[in-house]
């Protein structure tokens, strides 16, 4: 998947988690938690959603990589390549 595709995928997942928030102004270099009302349970939902859609395994030690859009894209890019089909 391209970085742009991953970005729109994450925005789509976030839109389900925080339905009342405008995500159009989301900044990629700032941690999600500093811009959105997210807690650790919300991050778990992101992980579960990614696994449901792509069967991708994200170990707990790597959850920190999902902290911001930029780091999430960097982390997911190589991992979502083969899963697309």
């Amino acid at each position: 998947m391209t970085p742009a595709e991953i970005r729109s995928l994450i925005v789509e997942i976030l839109a389900n988690i925080v339905p009342d928030v405008d995500l159009s102004q989301l900044r990629d270099d700032v941690p999600f938690r500093e811009q959105l009302p997210l807690d650790s349970m919300d991050f778990l939902d992101i992980v579960m959603e990614l696994r449901k859609r792509f069967r991708i395994q994200i170990p707990e030690d790597d959850y920190g990589m999902l902290a911001s859009m930029a780091s999430a894209i960097e982390y997911l890019s190589p991992r979502l390549v083969r899963e697309k089909a």
């Binding site: 807690d39 650790s40 349970m41 778990l44 939902d45 992980v47 579960m48 696994r51 069967r55 395994q57």
Partner: protein
């Protein structure tokens, strides 16, 4: 021939969940929704664990642990259950304290506590803000050396009255003490301060019924009166369980039973590392409780200004020891008004809760036990008289529960009503690294306790189980 409570059950499941407390039910629901074949086993005759209720003649219905939980329940119910359940959650607006140090009413949220702390308790606003910010940033994996007592000494030294204000409700909610890690207190207290205290309109019976329907809708095989006798483990990997003498194969087992019972009784210590078992044996159980359930006569309606939760005490200071003593000086009264069950006949109920030690009740003779229960009822009615005058003439039904009652109905060791102390969390989390496919999601260490904590721990563990079942080969055993 006794009834077969497993009639029609499969011989194998993807996941067997032992225990239908909120953690077990939530894990079962999520895994069922993901398409796994899930079996939920409950030893009691109804679902819910300590999220429960009971009925008595004359149409009386008592809730055990309904009032109150943090706002986070709305989100968790919406996401992991359904919209209708989430919509049933309503705020409790009147939280009262009455003790020799102060009497006050609060909404129990950050704004109102800031007002109280700065005006009534004379604290500088910056100090109060600093305290709230400090505890809000706490994580459960943070440093655990600081105790609750040290936290209070740091921000409000010498202020026993402020300690009481900040601590008494949390002790009621999850059994925590001044000697517990500060992070455990800070996380729970911050959860409440975010938006106050909530309850479920419709009552516990309605909630659990809706959850049961949702479980069935998601294909979960739900069985009551099914105590697990054994968790089978072969070469450090879960194989199945035995229930009513019948072997059921399972790829994963999630235990919502007491942590120590799960490891030492159901699984057996021989399946774990020696030093892990040492760690398990060092895990302390949390205390138990006593409760007195009081129904007022139908139509005798209390004014809701009496409050939803009332933390009442005659003890001069807040002390952990005093809270557990048989000589009860502190009681939390939960008031249930007709608005809670809009479709039921108009009745008011009061449930008095007090933390208690199992040892104080375990070894009484039947005669002593009966007498002690009656004393508990009498002293509770005396204490309630101050808030509900002529209470004895107004009571339609009254009875008491003790640590023995909690032990009998939940199967929890020593009737522990809040699981284990904080060190249990580490053991609980480490379980799948000891035995592949074996998970625990039950009350451990305060933050994973209470209605919201229990439910969210069920979510966390369901995530791990899905991870394990989806890609078992990738789950590496640590250590």
């Amino acid at each position: 021939m006794p009834r077969d409570f497993l009639a029609g059950a499969r011989d194998q499941y993807d996941v067997v969940v032992i225990g239908s407390g909120l953690g077990g039910m939530t894990a079962a629901n999520i895994l069922g929704r993901l398409g796994y074949r899930v079996l939920l086993l409950e030893q009691h005759y109804k679902l819910g664990g300590l999220a429960t209720w009971f009925r008595r003649p004359g149409g009386n219905i008592f809730d055990i642990s309904l009032h109150g939980f943090p706002y986070g329940m709305v989100k968790s119910c919406r996401r992991y259950w359904n919209e209708e359940i989430a919509n049933g959650i309503v705020p409790l607006r009147t939280i009262r304290y009455d003790n020799p140090m102060f009497s006050l009413t609060t909404r129990f949220d950050r704004d109102d506590f800031t007002r109280l702390l700065t005006t009534r308790f004379g604290q500088p606003p910056e100090k109060v803000q600093e305290f709230f910010e400090f505890i809000r940033k706490m994580n459960f994996y943070d440093d655990q050396t600081m105790t609750v007592k040290e936290l209070f000494d740091r921000f409000f030294p010498g202020r026993e009255d402020i300690i009481r204000l900040l601590m008494e409700p949390i002790t009621y909610a999850n059994g925590s003490t001044l000697e517990d890690p500060a992070v455990a207190y800070g996380i729970v207290f911050s959860n409440f301060m975010a938006k106050g205290v909530y309850t479920y309109r419709g009552g516990t019976d309605d909630l659990i019924q809706r959850m049961k329907e949702e479980l069935l809708k998601n294909g979960v095989d739900v069985r009551v009166r099914c105590p697990v006798e054994r968790i089978h483990i072969v070469r450090r990997k879960v194989a199945g369980v035995t229930v009513h003498g019948r072997y059921l194969a399972a790829r994963a087992v999630v235990s919502n039973a007491n942590l120590l019972a799960t490891i030492l009784r159901f699984a057996g210590p021989e399946h774990f590392d020696k030093d892990f078992i040492e760690e398990v044996k060092a895990v302390r159980l949390n205390n138990s409780s006593t409760q007195v359930y009081i129904a007022l006569k139908q139509g005798d309606l209390l004014d809701e200004s009496i409050g939803d939760l009332l933390f009442s005490s005659t003890a001069p200071y807040f002390r952990t020891e005093a809270l557990l003593s048989r000589n009860i000086t502190s009681r939390t009264f939960s008031f249930y008004y007709p608005s809670l069950r809009p479709h039921a006949p108009p009745r008011c109920y009061v449930v008095s809760s007090t933390n208690a030690r199992y040892e104080d009740w375990a070894n009484l003779s039947e005669e002593e036990y009966r007498k002690s229960k009656q004393e508990l009822i009498n002293s509770t009615l005396d204490a309630l008289e101050k808030y509900v005058p002529d209470i004895r003439q107004r009571v339609a039904h009254v009875e008491a529960a003790t640590p023995r009652t909690f032990e009998r109905y939940t199967g929890h060791l020593a009737g522990a009503s809040f699981g284990t102390k904080f060190e249990g969390l580490r053991v609980s989390r480490a379980l799948p690294h000891q035995v592949e496919g074996l998970f625990h999601a039950g009350s451990v260490g305060i933050i994973m306790s209470g209605w919201l904590g229990a439910m969210n721990y069920g979510v966390i563990v369901a995530n791990e189980v899905d991870n394990y079942l989806a890609c078992p080969s990738l789950t590496v055993r640590k250590g």
